[in-house]
């Protein structure tokens, strides 16, 4: 019962925060409500017994990515202009509605193979075994490291003063 209440609370807050990101004309406030949305997503991870991912969500999204985006907002001086919508407002709305309708219809009309097993708790040790252990994803981890290095170098080259 407490689980249901937690889910509904987090779901409603996250949807309202996401709507605020889209709807607020002040881009700085939109970024702050995006932070709220990230925090509620971390809460949703906890309700899904993904404790490690909740911590990573807080660290990476709330701690790093939102700071980066807020820094970009500060540096571009367009806070006064806000974030108006373009001419494609109605087609974009229709596209979003059609997408949501299709996905919701597909989700609700599929019989999912729900497993009766209990989830692993805590997940951190098992996840480390998955990532770094034998028959794991160690090659992908290395590729992700190279990708991050390439992204850092690309960002530095792009914003460097001539």
């Amino acid at each position: 019962m407490a689980f249901d209440i937690a889910f509904w609370l987090l779901a409603i807050v996250s949807v309202v925060a996401a709507l605020a990101v889209v709807g607020l004309t002040n881009i700085f406030r939109a970024a702050l409500s995006l932070v709220l949305c990230f925090i509620t997503v971390a809460g949703l991870y906890i309700t899904l017994s993904a404790d490690f991912l909740a911590a990573v969500q807080i660290l990476v999204y709330v701690g790093a990515i939102s700071i980066l985006l807020i820094l970009a907002i500060m540096l571009t001086h367009d806070v006064q202009l806000g974030s108006p919508t373009n001419k494609l407002r109605l087609p974009a709305f229709l596209a979003a509605i059609v997408f949501f309708g299709t996905v919701a219809w597909a989700v609700l009309n599929t019989t999912w193979g729900i497993s009766p097993l209990a989830p692993i708790e805590p997940t951190t040790a098992t996840l480390a075994g998955k990532l770094f252990g034998e028959n794991g994803y160690i090659l992908t981890v290395e590729i992700a490291a190279v990708l991050l290095l390439a992204a850092i170098l690309g960002a530095v080259v792009l914003v460097r003063e001539k």
Binding site: F7, V15, F38, A72, T85, L127
Partner: protein, 103 residues
């Protein structure tokens, strides 16, 4: 009806649709980046929900989410760098003004 997999998937679809609308309709490049982050988070919720309800002993969805987070961090860093470079050159972050590749 108690909360199950469908609830998380529908919530994920709602968040993705909101992000999709924002990414298509916004006239500020940084707002588009914010909406892309919402979409990535929506996909992550769906992956973790599948991992929890369909294969709770496997954690494969968690591994995917970790890699999506790494790629999203790289995407945000490069995206912000591109926006800064364009802003420095053209003095605007309006994507309707940034149309050099359309001409």
């Amino acid at each position: 009806m108690s909360v199950g997999l469908e609830h998380y998937l529908v919530l994920s679809a709602i968040l993705f649709a909101i992000g999709l609308y924002g990414a298509l309709a916004k006239r500020n490049t940084i707002a588009i980046l914010l909406c892309i982050e919402i979409m990535l988070n929506a996909v992550n919720i769906a992956l973790v929900a599948f991992s929890r309800y369909v294969a709770p002993q496997m954690l494969t969805g968690h591994v995917f989410v970790i890699f999506i987070m790494a790629v999203a961090a790289a995407e945000a860093a490069v995206g912000v760098a591109i926006i800064m470079a364009i802003y420095r050159r053209k003095g605007t972050v309006d994507p309707t003004e940034i149309d050099a590749m359309k001409r």
